[in-house]
Symmetry: D2
Subunit: 438 residues, 4 copies
């Protein structure tokens, strides 16, 4: 976790305080269920709730763990200090540490997913607003970094919206995947604990019972969760890359918002650098790098080994905290992005009509010119624009072979921008109104 | 693609023949739609179907591409050679190469997914059969590679079943994600082609129209697809690892089927090596390694760049072919796995009752001994078994402090195996009967 | 291996023919050494060389392997078919399959490294030539994609030269790492074979004896090898990215060579796309993805397991073939890159002197203005250029607060380009003449 | 950074205090060089050293950065607060932030490498000691997890020693790679600062001048550094895996040291789990995951973009802190590993002589039996041992076809363990005495 790339709400999920609080709730709910089954005395179960509003002493628990070298035992010992060792003797009965640890991890991941879903909603709201704002802001579409045909900035935002909306759906699925708990005892056989306890604990903690756990909840669930975060991070990079390109000096179609007090560089005061989106590019790598170790965690020895644990101590907070920060930063960047529509037009016209060559090509073939000839005609005039700085439309108008196929009016018509934007509403409707992709 | 790890059905999807066949179908369906819209003559559209049963000449197309350095143009040129250049002039009208290439890739991935789903069904069937066959075959559960408490081999198969069933669900989702096509023209604005063409082509090819494409279908879909394959591969490794452990000399609870003609080693004829599952461990890595590049492919420049293409030429065939092979190999290994239940029992008894210590601990606390004292009592007797080779039950029976809390009959009862298997049916029902996880 | 991204020389290293040829040589040399030690008859050793010029029948070997399911035994059986089973009975004596397989893999990797070193030499030669050609071709340096201060294109090539030169050194080290062989028998104890055999075989095959092998050569060597290829591939991407940026429409400072017959796009004839460098960007990902599985291969069970084998069957040919192709393509791209120096100047002047702001800032502080004031003065005038299209130098000349610190001549001097290139020779000397980095 | 997997010495390198201290030293040395060149007043340079023993106020710097949004400017402002703004005005002159940041990062990585080298020395010392202690401790060698032929535990430690020794060499090279600094100004042209300043600063900071920097030090150096850490981590996993296998219940040839106060599990007191080496397995993944993002950092836009920065804020501390912890933990585990030589012997004899089958096979062929017949004879008797629990030697002695080729004494001799250990000294000499691999 890198403090400067962390937000408090997400960070809090991974604090020792939160962890012990969840441990406590699991143990307390388990006692309730055990009491209901008659396995432990009702008074003992009730007594556990005495600690309900107590803040656990993290330092004290660490102190005990330094001796026992076992974190759950350390916590239980501390709990006994609070509720009394006599009352505490039924706590954790029939359970194994992993019942607590794995269920807790999933509670934390579910909560993290909820925050990330809210983050995605912010990103989606910003994208939707900017898409509609710039639905008709024409700019040149580019393939390979080369001018192709006109499109609109609204379509750019709309495609990012569609992509992030897919990410939202994926994250909902990943959240569902991870929303299981296990209280199944030593090797998952429920030998020492009734399945009813698991059911009660899971219901109280907002989880489904894991259909079959061993000592652990199977790690394919977590692998899928982190893989999903990796895909979302890659989409963050995708949006960031677009903005970085728009801001580069020669393009300058948009800029990240530049607050008055901000100094762009210690040496070059005129520079406004797309540092936020560059930063997002790096943050995406940090999230993505957690995918492979999460997958390496799936294969465990027999009913469990603990190799996955240290990995998750790292990647669970790191990936969720970093992605949360990145999504919030991204929402802000989109929201406040300064757009320069005039530059967009100026850039588009850089090659004096050349971007319309596809239309002319088509018109020629539709007018009966063979595909090969049409290609040759267009290429011939295009090269004059490219190499000699001529105007494409004028060259076409003065090319006899072209005008023998197309009238001047037909040629003029090929340079009408409205031609390119006529289906924007259709696409917007697909993106913002349809539920086909849900 | 490594020939020895490839099956013909999957490999065929990625052959040039299949690719050109799909290209052809897309172009032909697009012509139909264009004709229906009145954009091109109906006869021209009909003429394209003349090539319906023609096998395209891959060598000829390659030859043309060597000149044009453009694969789609090479194909269209070859198609014109077949149906006549006059008839062919309306083919591909208003389309861009990516319309063909990207839609084709998704058709291939959907077909690959269908094979993989069938593969998973084989794995699931084998796991289900072996799970029920060994529902009550007791073996020791292990955590950290150390004996813990009894479980059954059926539960082992059942948990792999549940995991692979989740993978099946994930793959269905990934298949759905990737089942889109795009025929939206140069930068995805439909400027030169009506959205109705895309709708027709997609319907005919078994796809949904991509709600908003640029020149390409957005690569977050593919990233999710490969990520899903990576998770499945990790589960393959998980099952393989269990079998490798079962086969190691000191454990020997099961063995891969050993065909009579097979030589295990050039030097040691007695060796039966778990080479299939070791192989699966490696194959899992090969599938998993495609996840990160698929994610790196998501961020493209503006409306498209072609950096993703060479990556996909590698990983799309490689990941699907390798995983297909791996799943089939895995189904065979599970199906024919030779199981040694007696060795399972012998292994379990290696430490003369020690694995029952958890039960004794619990009984002591339930009999009123404090948790700390119970722990001490169990540990005291366990250490004698561990260090001096004593029998755990007998030690307990002769420990006055123990017998003051538990009667001999109560102690005897703690060593009953049935105690550990009493919830196996419940778990099986959760795994095989429930639909809660769908 | 993707045929279109493969060159024959490198591909040949990974053919079955080459593999069996190396196997044969190892076996034959081992027989020589065994004969010299008196372990096997000299005539038998000599007889093995009867197959020296025989081309092994790959199909026949595959046929035998289909029965024995063991590749080395299949090969030895075929060899016996050639030299006679009586003569063949001493072949492979005391050896284990891995002695042959692992030594062969390293021979192949060493040969692959030699080709890659030659590839790097081509890249280095091209970079050196273009660096000197454009030593004084001024262009704007950019940070964050934003204009910063002038530099020269020669420096760009020079830094890629320095980077590739480091890569050459790394690859030499990686080649050295991998240049070991092992003929140490079943678990590497030399119980059945004298260390002298290993020494002889290694010397003949151009390798060093592995100081301590088990059944296998330790895989940390291979991990380091593939990691090195991954770094080189990342540098390929670095150069490719620069060229892609230079070629984008708004920058257009250089273009990949565009052969007359080449069609840039099926739809837009004027487009010249940087497809080669985009392709290199993807190929870099394909090489890089082999690094993690190579590292996952390091941890093997006890004296060996065979999980690494399937991984290496994939990544060893794929990574070397792809990188070989990429380096050759890169050398060609650099060699033939079309450079537009005038556009470089035009781009630099886009913001009318603003890129000199750093110099002015410095001059102001050196003239006694406080850092904060100087910053404010520069920023004030810079903003007029940025927002109102003014000329930076003229604004400065008419800013009384500026001219009270700097004379007009001093201001003029700050806009001299020679100031920025004065140390180019120094840097070139560091890069091309120095051996400090070797 | 995960606090429980961090040691203070390494963590300190990455503290804000250390970072600002290095920044300060770089600025101060740069002032000295500038003064010597006559660019700034000698008194101003001298004044900077007034802060030599001052502890910088991290909170204050953060406070300033919150306004300026630029960390280096914030630091310089704080420095001015200490030494006086008049004295401070020449600090950083001609430099760019990256000169400070990149040089600092490399100083930190060099220091981290020095600690890691010392860590490796601890690991090497432990391995060397245990190797010699158990040079003749016979245990069974295993391939595929299956008993193969005898080896010694000393050889196991010796091969890990050789591997870690290679890692030490690699790390020395990686340290050398990263030991460069840059003070070359805005885009690396030295336009505003003399190369002599860079030379002075680097010499004082223990670095070499980067031959050609742009605004940044090229990231291929860092990629190589992290790749090297990834290889070392993979070797840590390799050793850890061996120990985990040795400790598993059915093998139990060794155990991690178990301190008296330690509780293995909250439920099963008899369990001694190899938690340290399981933990190392996970930590290896955490280090390894940093390799790919470090490689993704190599390709930067033009003279620099800042996407690498957030990545390095994460992986630089995380990878070095985690690996430092892991190597220390590993040294401790090796040092205190509890070894059970008797169990090693008992395990080896599990299959009553079968592991000697290779020797018998060889003896038969050397006695004139054809390879195929010998294989058949050995296999026939081996199967009786395997399936009927017979003793291999006795079966051979009573197999007429065998005894017609080998005398009883010859058969007896094949079961002599000394045969397998006769070259141990040779191998030890290669590993511990030779310098051939340096």
């Amino acid at each position: 976790m890198i403090p400067r790339y962390a937000r408090p709400e997400m960070t809090a999920i991974w604090s020792p305080e939160t962890k012990f609080r969840i441990w406590y709730e699991i143990e307390a709910h388990a006692c309730d269920a055990q009491a209901k089954l008659g396995v432990i005395p009702a008074e003992s179960a009730a007594a556990v709730w005495k600690a309900k509003d107590v803040e656990f002493d993290v330092a004290r628990i660490d102190e005990i763990e330094a001796v026992t070298k076992h974190d759950v035992i350390a916590f239980l010992t501390h709990l006994a200090e609070i509720i009394g060792s006599d009352e505490a003797r039924f706590v954790h009965q029939g359970m194994t540490s992993s019942d607590v640890l794995d269920t807790t991890l999933n509670v934390q991941l579910v909560r993290a997913a909820d925050i990330l879903l809210a983050d995605l909603d912010k990103v989606l709201a910003a994208l939707k607003r900017r898409a509609h704002e710039h639905k008709d802001t024409v700019r040149i579409g580019r393939s390979h970094g080369i001018h192709a045909e006109p499109t609109t900035l609204g379509l750019t935002f709309a495609r990012f919206y569609a992509e992030m909306d897919r990410n939202r759906n994926r994250l909902e699925k990943a959240r569902w995947e991870i929303a299981t708990g296990a209280v199944s005892g030593a090797v998952g056989t429920f030998a020492n604990i009734d399945p009813a306890v698991e059911e009660h604990v899971c219901a109280e903690m907002g989880l489904r019972p894991e259909p079959i756990s061993t000592q652990v909840i199977p790690r394919d669930r977590h692998a899928m969760f982190f893989a999903t975060l990796g895909v979302i991070a890659s989409s963050v990079e995708n949006v960031a890359l677009e903005i970085r390109h728009m801001q580069r000096t020669e393009v300058l179609e948009a800029e990240e918002f530049f607050s008055p007090g901000q100094k762009g560089s210690s040496a070059m005061p005129h520079k406004r650098n797309p540092v936020l989106t560059e930063n997002l590019t790096g943050l995406a790598r940090l999230v993505r790098m957690t995918v492979v170790p999460a997958m390496e965690n799936v294969a465990l020895w027999h009913e469990r080994d603990i190799s996955h644990s240290s990995v998750e101590r790292g990647i669970a907070p790191d990936a969720t905290i970093t992605l949360d920060f990145a999504l919030n930063r991204l929402a802000g960047v989109i929201d406040k992005l300064v757009v320069y529509p005039e530059t967009m037009l100026a850039n588009m016209n850089k090659f004096r009509g050349l971007v319309m060559s596809q239309r002319v090509l088509l018109a020629l073939t539709q007018a009966g010119v063979s595909r090969e000839d049409a290609y040759r005609l267009v290429q011939r005039n295009a090269m004059k624009v490219w190499e000699e700085g001529k105007d494409f439309k004028e060259e076409l108008l003065s090319d006899a072979e072209v005008t023998s196929a197309l009238s001047p009016a037909e040629i003029e018509e090929k340079f009408d921008l409205g031609y390119h934007t006529k289906h924007v509403d259709t696409i917007f409707s697909r993106v913002f109104d349809s539920t086909a992709e849900k």
